[in-house]
């Protein structure tokens, strides 16, 4: 084999290896000689982010994702990135894992958390805060496929619901529903009228009750006064004396009658006795007429009998009304 052929073989091999290795490194974006600044982002999940994806800050590509590892406790994913540019990141930096475009390529963007207050960035444990490599919390925007899946599920449910409605809501159902609505409307109207009527009745009952209560109060007050008077009268000793006097006068009259019947001789004495009796009777009558004494006051008060009678009438009316219209005295409440 000639030297030229051997050289050719070597050249082909070197060229092929160079194409493979250099091309791979170039396409992966490896930059030789530039210092890299490591950074780690903790996120709940990474969606479709993969090693090699871009790291962007303010729209400028400043690095690439190097490794992605699930944390040992399984609570988060640690995304290690290498920043190719010496860029001063904000103090409240956070990582947003999001699609770069609608065609499945993802990126990790370094942002200031204050710009995205609604994002729930992952809280970095204190152990990581003290690590040599800076660790920031991240937030993963739900990928389009998940949103699409959710939307598809919702649309499927809606379709099922629509089908069921379509099955249930036929023309007969519509007519029934229309009739039901009409019935409900009529019932509502009647209920409204009933409520209005009952409200008026209730107002009337209330007024009657107030009036009845006033009258009962007045009657009871008058009865109380009358009863007090009766009680006072009964308890007063003058009544006994008056009764005694009346009894005595009656006895005297009987005596006079007896004397008159038995003896007509002593007419003068009899007349004198009669005069005395009449005088005594006149005195008693005068006392009664003047209203003095318990019985006099009782007899002199002309309103007592009227009031008592009015009270009895009112009580009769009240009892009658209670029997006939018990609803007036029962509080009616609707709604």
């Amino acid at each position: 084999m000639s030297k030229g052929r051997e050289l050719l073989v070597g050249f082909v091999i070197i060229a092929a290896v160079a194409v493979g290795v250099v091309g791979t490194l170039w396409l992966k974006g490896v930059h030789w000689g530039r210092p890299l600044e490591p950074l780690q982002i903790l996120v709940p999940d990474v969606a479709q982010l993969t090693p090699g994806d871009a790291v962007v800050f303010r729209g400028v590509r400043i690095g690439r994702v190097s490794t992605i590892q699930v944390e040992p406790d399984g609570q988060a994913v640690r995304v290690s990135v290498n920043l190719e540019e010496q860029v001063k990141l904000p103090a409240d930096a956070g990582g947003v894992v999001a699609p770069e475009s609608m065609f499945g390529d993802w990126q990790a963007e370094i942002v200031s958390r204050s710009r995205y207050p609604r994002y729930h960035f992952y809280d970095v444990p204190k152990v990581d805060s003290t690590a040599d490599v800076r660790v920031i919390g991240g937030y993963t925007i739900p990928e389009l496929t998940r949103l699409t899946a959710s939307a598809e599920e919702i649309s499927t449910n809606l379709a099922n619901l629509t089908n069921r409605l379509e099955l249930a809501f036929n023309e007969q159902t519509a007519q029934n529903l229309s009739r039901a609505i009409d019935n409900i409307e009529a019932v509502t109207r009647e209920v409204r009228d009933l409520v209005n009527r009952e409200a008026a009745v209730a107002a009337s009952v209330t007024a009657n009750a107030d009036s009845a209560l006033n009258e009962i109060e007045q009657a009871s007050r008058a009865a109380r006064v009358s009863f007090e008077r009766v009680q006072q009268l009964l308890s007063d000793a003058k009544m006994d004396s008056i009764m005694d006097n009346v009894q005595l006068a009656t006895g005297d009259i009987q005596k006079v009658s007896g004397v008159l019947a038995n003896s007509s001789g002593d007419l003068r004495g009899t007349l004198a006795s009669m005069d005395s009796s009449f005088a005594r009777l006149d005195r008693i009558t005068a006392q009664l007429e003047s209203g003095r004494g318990s019985l006099g006051r009782l007899l002199a008060d002309s309103t007592f009998a009227v009031r008592a009678e009015g009270v009895l009438e009112q009580l009769d009316l009240l009892l009658k009304d209670l029997r006939e219209n018990p609803r007036r005295y029962v509080r009616l409440s609707i709604f």
Binding site: A16, V19, G20, F103
Partner: protein, 261 residues
């Protein structure tokens, strides 16, 4: 009458037996080649010439195929994507398709015709002219002398050719995008880098190694099994190309199913 009725059954039996015998011969050849790896003094001197013959001499045809494949890929991707998908995905499609599929497979198919047929014809001729028997008479292991250097050269050089073909194909697609399409280098490279993974290159290399071993092994197998003079050599050559092409396509699907899950 009875004989004619039994002929189909007889044919099935013959086919099965010949298939089993072929598998047995292939196994014998493979085992013999593995055993012959120890005899480096025999196959060593022939490795580099075979690498030049199988690899270097195949580079032009492989690059020619890759060149026009890259051009066609770029144009077809642009034609397909226009109005629906950003054009920078032309770079993605050219890169992915060349590295993952067309680079190894087209190169493998092309080389199965060129290398596999060459090996089958060469060894078949040696077989029918009893040169293989002469080697055995001279105490040379035909496997070590004929099979091992060719298979090793194929396993080593196929990936090199495929890598070069991949590079040329991507460059051709890039050049086409710049010259024939309304694209910039930034756009093409953005798409090219977008979904690029270094595993893609490894996948291409693994496939091409398997294709190299397949093409050379099948050529050697049919070459060693050649009978019937010049006509037999031609038949072995044809079979070698057909069978190695079929195996390449089967392996292509196999590796995709195994390695791209």
């Amino acid at each position: 009458m009875r004989i004619s009725l039994l002929r189909p059954v007889e044919a099935v039996g013959q086919a099965v037996l010949s298939a089993v015998a072929a598998v047995g011969r292939a196994g014998q050849l493979g085992l013999g080649a593995v055993r012959a790896l120890r005899k480096g003094s025999i196959w060593g001197p022939h490795l580099l010439p075979q690498m030049a013959k199988i690899g270097v001499d195949s580079v032009p045809i492989a690059l020619f195929i890759a060149l026009f494949t890259g051009v066609v890929l770029s144009l077809q991707a642009s034609y397909t994507f226009t109005g629906a998908i950003p054009l920078y995905f032309v770079g993605t499609l050219v890169g992915k398709t060349m590295v993952l599929e067309l680079g190894p497979v087209l190169t493998g198919l092309a080389l199965s015709g060129r290398v596999g047929a060459n090996i089958a014809a060469e060894i078949g001729t040696m077989r029918v002219t009893e040169q293989v028997d002469a080697l055995e008479t001279l105490a040379y292991d035909p496997n070590a002398y004929l099979v091992v250097p060719r298979v090793l050269a194929g396993a080593l050089m196929f990936p090199m050719v495929v890598l070069l073909a991949n590079g040329v194909g991507v460059l051709a697609g890039w050049a086409t995008s710049l010259s024939l399409l309304d694209m910039s280098s930034q756009e093409f490279l953005k798409g090219l880098r977008l979904f690029f993974r270094s595993w893609d290159v490894w996948f291409s290399v693994i496939k091409s190694v398997s294709f190299g071993i397949t093409v050379t092994s099948v050529g050697c197998f049919f070459g060693f099994g050649t009978t019937g003079g010049a006509e037999g050599v031609g038949r072995a050559t044809t079979r070698s190309v057909v069978v190695s092409s079929m195996i390449i396509l089967v392996l292509d699907a196999f590796w995709a199913a195994v390695l791209l899950k």
